[in-house]
Subunit: 189 residues, 2 copies
DNA sequence: CGCGCGATTGAGTAATTTCAAATCTAGTGG
DNA sequence: CCACTAGATTTGAAATTACTCAATCGCGCG
């Protein structure tokens, strides 16, 4: 739980006493490779703070093709946020690609924390602000860049993920076929 | 200012007294057609709550092509949020397409309001949550749908904008050329 | 150790873009 | 209020780009 404390303190000041309260809302979960954190069509009970491991959230389109919504490693938050926030059945899957541990938080817990502690409401707002900005950059990249450039940007932004994640998933994240990505990749060297 | 009050009360309870305080942070601005709210490379002093009119925020890529980041009409919030939140020079332009009025809020004002009034921090968090979810849906659409489907989705989601906005801008929002959009449009009828 | 998943490569195809030109529309100024 | 003009839309044809399908190779997981 020390990681959680540091993670929160990074953004907002909380007392040790408050943290004792905060941490009761989180539960620890160990996750193995290939294990689902979220299954399509099922209820989304939690969002997850990744302590270790690598995960992917993806959407299956009408033709059964995967599209990566987000990756997540240490200190990233992850869920099917559309379903989580709106309390709808999941339209995505979240799967573990590298075993690790996560902290689980229910929407009810999140809202209670926000209501009871102004600092936590602030924390979640700041986190959302950052996530919003990151998403906007991704939209701009999808609209304006060719696959080549999107790939280069990704490699620069997430050198770590480049190493740890099969390239076919990166292709799905960037919105190109793996063959095209492969060709870009070899042309690039 | 009554619109603002209703807009906030939609999400969080505030007293009349609080609102008297809140409204001092907002300034009214009338905007004419073709007028810039935000200019590329300049400082982004405000975010805007649209009271009336239609606006577009767009990004110019390396080849000078426009890509629409978002549209905004009544009751939408709008800014160059990447620049606004991070206090960087604007990388986008925001232009009025239909004359109207907006309320302006500085980042400092936003943060002060959030700090002083837990209810306002809550308000901004909820707004961001909704915006985040909407953006995620757009990313999924960009990744998984062909232009035809993206166009249909847009038409269903924003029938109002379909009427009020030149189609070339809708093309730029969807990430297709206007010619392609035009062909989809005529094939569709 | 072997099997399966991931990566690569090739060839043909489908889709969208680009360029160009004609037509239509709506905003502007007189 | 009308006429004019710049902007918006449509259409055609060629060119580009990425996709699909298929086959092979290689490596790491179980």
């Amino acid at each position: 739980m020390e990681k959680l404390k540091a993670h929160i303190k990074d953004i907002t000041n909380i007392s040790d006493e408050d943290f004792e309260h905060i941490k009761t809302f989180f539960t620890l979960k160990k996750v193995k490779r290939h294990q689902h954190l979220i299954q399509e069509d099922e209820q989304v009970k939690f969002e997850f703070l990744i302590l270790s491991g690598v995960f992917r959230a993806f959407y299956l389109d009408a033709s059964g093709k995967e599209h990566i919504i987000q990756f997540a490693t240490e200190n990233w938050w992850l869920s099917d946020y559309v379903a989580y926030f709106k309390q709808l059945p999941a339209s995505t899957n979240v799967i573990c690609m590298e075993a690790g541990e996560v902290l689980c938080l229910t929407l009810e817990g999140r809202e209670k924390l926000s209501e009871n502690l102004h600092g936590m409401e602030h924390f979640f707002r700041v986190k959302l602000t950052n996530a919003y900005v990151a998403q906007q950059k991704r939209i701009v990249a999808l609209l304006s860049s060719n696959p080549q450039k999107r790939f280069e940007e990704f490699a620069k932004l997430y050198p770590d993920l480049m190493q740890r994640i099969p390239k076919k998933y990166i292709a799905e994240y960037l919105g190109v076929s793996r063959e095209t990505l492969s060709r870009l990749y070899s042309a690039n060297k």
